[in-house]
Amino acid sequence: MPEIAIETRDLQRSFGDLVAVAGVDLEVSAGEIYAFLGPNGAGKTTTVRMLTTLLQPSGGTAQVAGHDVVRDAAAVRRSIGVALQEAALDPLMKGRELIQLQATLHGMLRPEGRRRAEDLLERVGLTQAADRQVGTYSGGMRRRLDLASALVHEPKVLFLDEPTTGLDPVSRKSIWEEVEKLNREGTTVFLTTQYLEEADNLADRVGIIDDGRIVVEGTPGSLKAEIGHPHLEVKVADGTADRATEVLKRFGKPMPAKDGAALVELETGAAGVAPVVRALDDAGLAVESLELVEPTLDDVFVAKTGYHLEGDEGSEGSDPQELAEPEPAP
């Protein structure tokens, strides 16, 4: 596979007057885990659908595993595995049947497909449930089955669209472990997420998307370092906050007080905490609580977009692929 697994140049997609993806340039190296981070409606799913040939771009170009997504779509589909949002699984199919069908669709003969299904079911811990209908599976089980079916043909590039949305922490961790294992085996992973922790923990590089554009891109560490340094939040006894602020000024740039706590930017990070504590003690100040707060990807997001990713209303843009809710089956 080429060194660049995924490459887009001014990739665009509109739905009538609605611009869902306004021009995305990105490069994902082979063997990398790349996280596309952004709120609902930012354009994440639309971008994934274009890269997986489910949607034609309105403009720009994209190549996946060295093949153009429009001119050479069949070759792209041979090279990729896809686990979309909502784990689109037929509830009437059995787990084993689904993976065997997927194997057949990727050109495997039935005996080979059956063997592969057994291997994958064991890998994702679904052997016991393999002969039950998918409708009886929990959310975590469905996600694992979805992931297994995306791996049936050992794809070079794996697309995961919000792979852990709606899962409990244990199931989420299990998916993360599987993704990391796949990556160690050489699979390039492109995942979309609205969870900061997921991007921070999993990704080699993160692209923050908002309103159909990438606003910033880099490793989680470099993005956070770009925003600033860690800061120390010190809560002292009532009436002594001003004195605490004076002490803290000696160690870094003071920041606006928050909830009665004095704040100071600490360039040295954790190494600078002990001197601060000694100084506060020498000044006779009783420290009630002390916390070193590292910049988060949410801080990065706020700096670039003006609002928080988690717990906020988010962008006014709308990605119809993300907002559309399928009607319940009759």
């Binding site: 739905f15 659908r49 997986t52 040939t53 489910l54 949607l55 034609q56 069949a74 589909r77 041979r78 990729i80 896809v82 979309l84 909502e86 689109a88 699984l89 037929d90 509830p91 009437l92 199919m93 049947e97 069908l101 997927q102 057949t104 669709l105 990727h106 050109g107 209908q133 079916s149 119809p320 692929q321 559309a324 399928p326 009607e327 089956a329 009759p330």
Partner: protein
């Protein structure tokens, strides 16, 4: 690949009783009611020479079932679209139209099964097929091909709308089309304008071709017209399906 998708389609139908019921139970009940309640229609002047009303009605019941099979196939495809399962298929390295053909393969098998069912019911309740085994085989072939043809229409509607409720909403239209044909009553005894509509309704040609080996000897004309009608409906259905599929892939929904 088409076989694998067809197998899935058949399993889906058997595992979803609400899709099976219209194919077998409803047409059988309707057949029983019509034969039990209107059997003396055979005495009407101009009614074709038959051994019994069931002999006349059997083909109509079969074709009714295949029309409903096509509708059910469309509903199932629309459900696949609604739950996103078709995206899984579209992301696979197969011809996108194979997804439609796989669905139609499943509908064809269901058509053949319903044909066998009605043949069995007919024979049990005294139908005498004038052309014997050859006639029965012909009926099975015609009904199976009809299922593919009508299934194409159902698939086109599913691909265009993407909603099972839309396909389901066309269920009553099936009966309008059926009653405006010679499926349940001889065309010559229908009143205008139903008679004129029935004369041109492709369904009439299909039913007459399927009925022919039951109530009389093979007629080459009726056979040719029946297969041509099936071919015409299939061509329309498959063309509309291809266009709807292309539109869906272009717009992503």
């Amino acid at each position: 690949m088409i076989v694998a998708l067809g197998e899935r389609s058949i399993k889906q139908t058997f595992r979803r009783p609400q899709l099976m019921a219209p194919l077998i139970i409803f047409p059988t009940l309707l057949l029983a009611i019509q034969v039990g309640g209107a059997g003396r229609a055979v005495d009407l002047p101009g009614f074709p020479e038959v051994n019994g009303f069931l002999d006349f009605m059997l083909a109509g019941a079969m074709i009714q079932s295949t029309l409903l099979a096509g509708n059910s196939g469309g509903i199932a495809l629309a459900l696949d679209i609604e739950m996103g399962f078709t995206d899984r298929l579209f992301a696979a390295p197969i011809s996108r139209f194979a997804i439609v053909l796989g669905r139609l393969a499943g509908t064809a098998v269901l058509g053949a099964l319903t044909a066998l069912w009605f043949l069995a019911v007919g024979v049990i309740f005294g139908v005498r097929i004038e052309e014997g085994v050859a006639g029965a085989l012909l009926m099975i072939v015609l009904v199976t091909l009809s299922a593919v043809a009508f299934g194409g229409i159902g698939s086109a509607i599913a691909l265009k709308s993407g909603k099972a409720s839309v396909v389901q909403g066309l269920f009553p239209l099936v009966f309008v089309i059926l009653f405006l044909s010679s499926a349940f009553f001889p065309e010559a005894l229908l009143q205008e304008p139903a008679r004129s509509i029935a004369a041109w309704n492709p369904l009439s040609f299909v039913v007459e071709a399927a009925r022919d080996p039951v109530i009389s000897a093979f007629s080459a004309d009726l056979l040719v017209e029946g297969f041509l009608a099936v071919g015409l409906v299939a061509a329309i259905g498959l063309t509309l399906s291809a266009l709807a599929l292309r539109s869906r892939l272009r717009t992503g929904g």
